[in-house]
């Protein structure tokens, strides 16, 4: 009844791959066909559509590294990708959306080749190894005619890097964004050393074609998701997904606070722009007029180290105060900088 095709992306750029998912979602008619897209990315942290990157990952560390930050279109929590992680996107007609079916396809595929592997699908739609370690997380996007469910599959990911980037110092941060649920993770290759990217691709595609009659041949078709000729509009989608406005600017309203003894700086941020800054200190600690001037300059600024530094440096450069007051202003600006990551 329903046919199937498996594509494998030749790109390892997270923004290009996400743009291709968008393209399929917006363009294809899957009333009689299911599409399975297999892909992997160079090191990146991927947050859910409504999440807060400041709350979910160590941004300072990320900014100092080659790890990219992406925000996907689907919901859910934060994950870390590198070439040791396989992404599977199951595109179907809206009526055929079924996450459990897809996840069972994967676990059946794994067990058929590695019968000793204890992999099960949890009630949260995670795939668990030995009933404890999370090796896969899922999220999905639903439209009126089409839907997709995508999931990760950790086979040989750099887990120390994952743990250090996703361990977030959430102190002083309050927000309404979707929160991640932390889990202990493990690689499939820790238990079965012969599991690697190529063997997973083959095994999952084979299982897929045993369930859905091949539309053409039961092959994994390599495709270039950056081809504007094949997928018109994919490059402008890629540009949008890689833009500051999407990755950071989409962040729901939140507040973050840093203190030092009696002085605290509270920043209210909406769509990654400063709504307002509230500085709390003991009565008479500093001239409130000065503070109002500083916070006035900050309202509307991007919540971004470079932009805030420009404002504070200009302010400190222009203001004429005694040494003691200057020291206090420096403290306030230092606390402000600390809120930024």
């Amino acid at each position: 009844h329903c046919k199937g095709v498996v594509y494998e992306s030749v790109s390892s750029d997270v923004f290009t791959n996400l743009a291709f998912e968008d393209w399929v979602y917006n363009n294809l008619d899957l009333s009689t066909t299911n599409l399975l897209l297999l892909w992997r990315n160079d090191p990146c942290v991927v947050i859910g559509r409504h999440q807060n990157p400041w709350a979910e990952c160590q941004l300072r560390q990320l900014w100092g590294s080659k790890v990219k930050l992406a925000r996907r279109r689907s919901g859910g929590g934060t994950v870390y990708h590198d070439l040791g992680n396989l992404n599977c996107t199951f595109f179907t007609d809206r009526k055929r959306y079924n996450r459990k079916e897809n996840l069972e396809l994967i676990t059946n595929a794994l067990r058929s080749t590695w019968p000793g592997l204890d992999v099960t699908v949890s009630c949260r739609d995670d795939i668990l190894l030995d009933n404890f370690f999370k090796v896969s997380g899922s999220s999905a996007k639903l439209g009126r005619q089409i839907a997709y469910h995508h999931c990760t599959l950790l086979h040989s990911v750099n887990t120390p890097e994952l743990k250090s980037l996703l361990h977030s110092k959430k102190e002083g941060l309050t927000n309404r964004a979707t929160k991640s649920v932390e889990s202990a993770v493990k690689n499939l290759s820790d238990v079965e050393p012969s599991i690697r990217h190529s063997s997973l691709v083959d095994v999952i595609a084979e299982q897929f074609y045993s369930q859905y009659q091949p539309l053409y041949k039961n092959k994994v078709y390599p495709m270039d998701p950056s081809s504007e000729v094949d997928w018109p509009g994919v490059l402008s989608s890629r540009e949008e997904l890689g833009s500051w406005n999407w990755v950071y600017g989409k962040t729901p309203q939140f507040s973050v606070q840093r203190s030092h003894t009696d002085v605290s700086v509270l920043v209210h941020v909406h769509h990654a722009r400063i709504l307002g800054v509230v500085i709390q200190a003991l009565d008479g600690w500093i001239d409130t007029g000065l503070i109002q001037e500083l916070t006035g300059h900050l309202a509307g600024t991007k919540f971004w180290p470079k932009d805030v530094a420009e404002i504070t440096e200009a302010f400190l450069g222009a203001v004429i105060v005694d040494a003691d007051t200057r020291q206090k202003l420096h403290l306030v600006c230092k606390l402000l900088q600390e809120t930024l990551s």
Partner: protein, 189 residues
Amino acid sequence: MSCPRLLQQSASLCSRVCRAAVLTTRPNFTKVGLALARQQLLPFCRQGQTPREFSCTSAVNADRLFSKDHEWLLPDDAKKTATIGISDHAQEALGDIVFIELPEVGAKFAQSDSFGVVESVKAASDLYALIDGEITEVNDALSQTPELVNSDPLGAGWMIKMTIANPAQLNDLMTEDAYQDFLSETKEE
């Protein structure tokens, strides 16, 4: 490039499919027939609606229209603006709602554009403008309490208000009765 191609969506096909589903309780008609149907529908809607008892807290409103994607639209008395939300069936299917992404006041949409996204534990689902128009109001309470959509989808869980740029588009939607029939029919499948 040996990558096999898949069938692309056809916009006209899509709207034809939507209309066919909506017309299960109405006679088939062409554009000319549409004008006639409108004359028949409006008097029918205004007269002969007996109030019914429901267990939900929202007031019964005979003017509430529904789409086959489980969204509702309630025009104001002057039929200048309409309130839009999702149906009880939709909120139940979505599960616990954790976040609702809504547009800015002033944003303009065409019928079938996505105006927002509702995130539940299951997925991020697109929300569709049912008519052409401009956003006049957004339910800010939902940013604090998205669960309102689960608990009171037809009342406090309303999502947006928008102008009705093209009143003829209201005919693309179905009455509450037709929607209930539609629900029973799809359950039987």
